[in-house]
Symmetry: C2
Subunit: 382 residues, 2 copies
């Protein structure tokens, strides 16, 4: 396999962007990434998007977005793995460049959610239709069950879970593209409206519109681009049972652990080498389970480590500096790409007020549903 | 890039399969392909499916199908490019093996259409939502405009267009998995119910349920598998404007021509080297335009060549021996994979009554929408 670099990056603000359509959002992020990379053509393009059919009645984004971006006749496909669609698009683009077939490939993600009439129903299609969605369970309820199991098995407290939201909202204050840049307290999280016990409104990522795009390039292309080089050193993906009832342990994320093991092995790195991580905190409890599955903290200690500040911006292993899905926002298909965008920006030393000192090795973890699919990518400044 | 082979193949019957769900269909085809290849594990999996969200309220097929197929924790993603989803899934799987990252990767496709309440609306999401679907135009209308343009520019007759349906239905008589194995006449096509003038009911592919799966393997894996070796020698894909009004010529398929040029160049083959082709005949006129774009006949001669029998089973260049989308059936996401299934089966000499003598080099052409995305694959017996 050839080495693969990220040579350009672009993103839109995340939020309730009533005045912007799916195509507008994507083109804005993609054009910015192409300008950043200094390329005016693409060999290929992958777009992560979870459910544009249900959300805005538009499938076939491949043709639509290549057309509106002005890169016809570049090959393009949409990639879907529920909320891991962005990570999956990045992985497919990686293989196309690594194979030698292409030198410049765009990996993007987009979701236009706020125009839809029933977002909760659209998102529920990421669960098992026959055994979960059909019976009325939606994602807040599924993650609430996972939270209860984690609390019972590991003694995780309501306050520890809330600490994830407090940290990520604080991080988002320094991210101008964040949906919810606002300071909140543990008490406010616990006192917010109940959604699915024990989860409250401030435990849940918002419904956002947004897009993000990265340009992957071969070594030759990377040397031609301006700015510090960022290489993709680890790529891992895995699946798990889609339905929660079919898992051996609902308080852990096995697909994340397996995807991480692959990415660590490929990059010859381990959890202790990681300088910062962006993880999939669609609900507060998800971040606690993710940092455990990635080995960034010991199993069962995710809540305690968060409360102790180990994952804060000035902690041992900063997690979700961007604000995470929780506060930066969660336009589903864009999320996995935006996580890698944050890592790339930090490794380039271009993160402004939220820059982490000496960021050399970063990790991005994206997952679909309740963890039925997962991707982990490791990137390094070279 | 490493050489890539097709080492296993499986398919379900295509048709109105009321008693079978999306997961049942996929697992049946995929299990058959794994048994055929002699493998009991996968390094990865790609599933082409156009719109399971709108059709059966199930996204996240990656996790669902890896789970039900029993290949957890193999990485899997769904790939979508409207009716070219199957071809796009095959292409993504190709890159994963060609890159050296994986040795055994499944490329499958599935669509469960007959349970949906509004299939025409779901399919219309493959057109431009803002400029086409919103205003009420659906695919029969779009292809009718393309047919009118072809008739005007090239003098193509109503009888020549009908000859595509007559040929493909006759071919389907020898395909036990075909949805519509029945003999029809030119007069019957022209006298069938009007759908969108000049297209009639017998010009349109049916709405079908079905699944198909192929196993792609490295050279080492191919040598271990039983049966004749089939190598993927050409891979091409391209995009065009999604909306018909934005094309320079609505009577030709530019994305198909560009995808073919790439596949021909990669394989060092040309149209005259092709022994048989499976092309995307979602409507009769589409086959005429496809064989022209592929260079199998001169531009403008698609209708006349079909009428003259050049593309029949015993003709100069047999096209859609399987029955094509028109008569084999068109479960959208499965279609592109099923085209390659037919080529592989013919190259292996395993096509039974519909076997073409001396089939050594085959081509499969898949497209989305009115040709906004297209893939072309060339396979050779080695």
């Amino acid at each position: 396999m050839r080495d693969v670099y990220v040579i350009g990056a672009g993103i839109t603000p995340f939020g309730e962007l009533w005045q912007r359509s799916l195509r507008d959002l994507f083109v804005s992020a993609a054009r910015q990434a192409m300008v950043d990379a200094g390329v005016d053509r693409l060999d290929g393009m992958y777009v992560g998007s979870m459910s544009p059919g249900l959300l805005v009645e538009q499938e076939h984004l491949s043709s639509l977005l290549a057309d509106y971006l002005g890169v016809l006749p570049a090959p393009c496909v949409r990639v879907e793995s529920a909320c891991a669609s962005g990570g999956a698009a990045f992985r497919s683009a990686f293989f196309e460049v690594a194979s030698g077939a292409s030198d410049v490939v765009l990996a993007g993600g987009v979701e236009k959610m706020t125009d839809a009439d029933d977002v909760t129903r659209a998102l529920a299609t990421a669960s098992d239709q026959e055994y979960e969605a059909f019976h009325g369970i939606t994602f807040p309820g599924l993650y609430a069950m996972m939270a209860r199991a984690h609390m019972r098995q590991h003694g995780t407290t309501r306050e520890e879970i809330a600490a994830v939201a407090v940290k990520n909202h604080e991080n988002a204050l320094e991210n101008p593209n964040a949906h919810l840049g606002m300071r909140i307290s543990i008490d406010q999280v616990i006192a917010s409206s109940p959604v699915a016990d024990p989860l409250r409104l401030l435990d849940c990522a918002p419904v956002s519109d947004g897009a993000c795009a990265l340009i992957l390039g071969s070594e030759d292309q990377a040397k031609r681009a301006k700015g510090p080089l960022v290489r993709v050193t680890g790529v891992g993906a895995a699946t798990d049972a889609i339905a929660l009832h079919a898992r051996s342990d609902v308080a852990s994320l096995e697909a994340v652990a397996r995807a991480a093991a692959k990415a660590y092995a490929m990059s010859s790195r381990g959890p202790r080498d990681i300088d910062l991580a962006e993880v999939h905190d669609c609900f507060t409890i998800a971040e606690i389970m993710a940092i455990e599955a990635l080995g960034l903290v010991d199993r069962g200690r995710g809540g305690a480590a968060t409360s102790a500040g180990e994952t804060s911006r000035r902690g041992r292993i900063p997690v979700n500096i961007s604000g995470g899905l929780k506060a930066k926002g969660h336009p589903v298909g864009a999320t996995g790409v935006a996580q890698i965008f944050e890592i790339v920006t930090q490794l380039r030393g271009a993160a402004g007020k939220r820059q982490i000192a000496n960021a050399r090795i970063g990790l991005a973890q994206n997952m679909g549903g309740t963890g039925g699919s997962a991707t982990v990518h490791i990137l390094e400044a070279v």
